[in-house]
Symmetry: C2
Subunit: 189 residues, 2 copies
């Protein structure tokens, strides 16, 4: 997606450890017009998949997921990273290792909102190691729901997540695929 | 807002400790059509205020804020609850006490994205004690930005937050105002 690649080139910031910060337009601060174009593209890609639910993970996936859901006319469910006393006891739970933070955390969704027969589009801002996405797919599997695919804004193709997911038979559509970001230069595939 | 009150009556769930769960349509799972009506109403109320930024707090405010921002054609900035190693060091920081979780946490926004002269609409799903909103207003104050008001989906008017904010001169527009929820019955103002 040309628009997103151009924006990453213009406003993305590189930091040591393969960290790309896009927090002026995609997370932290969100350019809603750009999110709308992203949502439209996910719809173009997945419109024939009978998606009836969008699943994402807090926090930075929520904005893209909500804007995207307008095109699918379906609800958004976001998985939560810790168990709060406000959530129903009946949850599906999985464990996710965070590449960014170097920690492992539980991810939950309420059993009320994910069901056998649901056709789920998984949305997230980044794909690097793929751990969060494997966690979301596992939540779908526990519920008997079908994950029809993943819609990713930015894929770091030089990290193993995308390949691991595709090898596992998961459809992954990434709108910007970064081949490398060595020496302070971002190269797209 | 009739539509939201009706939905709370239909799908809201009451729990001991004045806890109202609306996670089938407003947080956790989000009904995007309803969020669109909420966003439209916030726009009707604040359209003359020259809003150029929407500020919310992760996680459950993000969906409403993003949908609302489409009407204002402005970016959304969400305040983060902990300091991650991915965020710029230059942040505005404030402390918020969580009524729900009984803890105190830091809330930050990057100095890059909140400026003197910004006219900020603050959006959140719930107003109870008002601590999160006072925190977001404090972040605006630190940046020299003006908080033009708060757009709240559900105000628990029997808790002190709304009154404290209005006494402090803050404009608060709440789309559903709950006067009481004793004996398992929700009464709106």
């Amino acid at each position: 997606m040309e628009l997103l690649e151009a924006r990453i080139r213009k406003d993305g910031k590189l930091f040591p450890g393969n960290i790309l910060k896009v927090d002026s337009f995609l997370n932290h601060q969100m350019d809603i017009d750009l999110l709308n174009e992203i949502g439209k593209e996910f719809y173009r890609l997945y419109q024939d998949c009978e998606v009836n639910k969008i699943l994402t993970i807090e926090a930075s996936g929520i904005g893209i997921a909500c804007i995207t859901a307008q095109y699918f006319h379906c609800p958004v469910l976001f998985a939560k990273k810790t168990k709060t006393k406000n959530i129903a006891a009946a949850v599906y739970k999985t464990e996710v290792k965070s590449y960014t933070h170097g920690t492992t955390y539980d991810v939950i969704v309420s059993k009320e909102f994910l069901h056998k027969g649901d056709r789920v589009l998984i949305i997230d801002d980044f794909l690097a190691e793929g751990n969060a996405l494997f966690g979301l797919i596992d939540l779908c599997r526990q519920a008997g729901a079908e994950a029809v695919g993943c819609g990713i804004a930015i894929e770091k193709s030089f990290q193993p997540g995308a390949q691991r997911l595709r090898k596992a038979g998961v459809r992954v559509e990434s709108l910007a695929m970064i081949a490398s970001m060595d020496d302070g230069e971002i190269k797209f595939r």
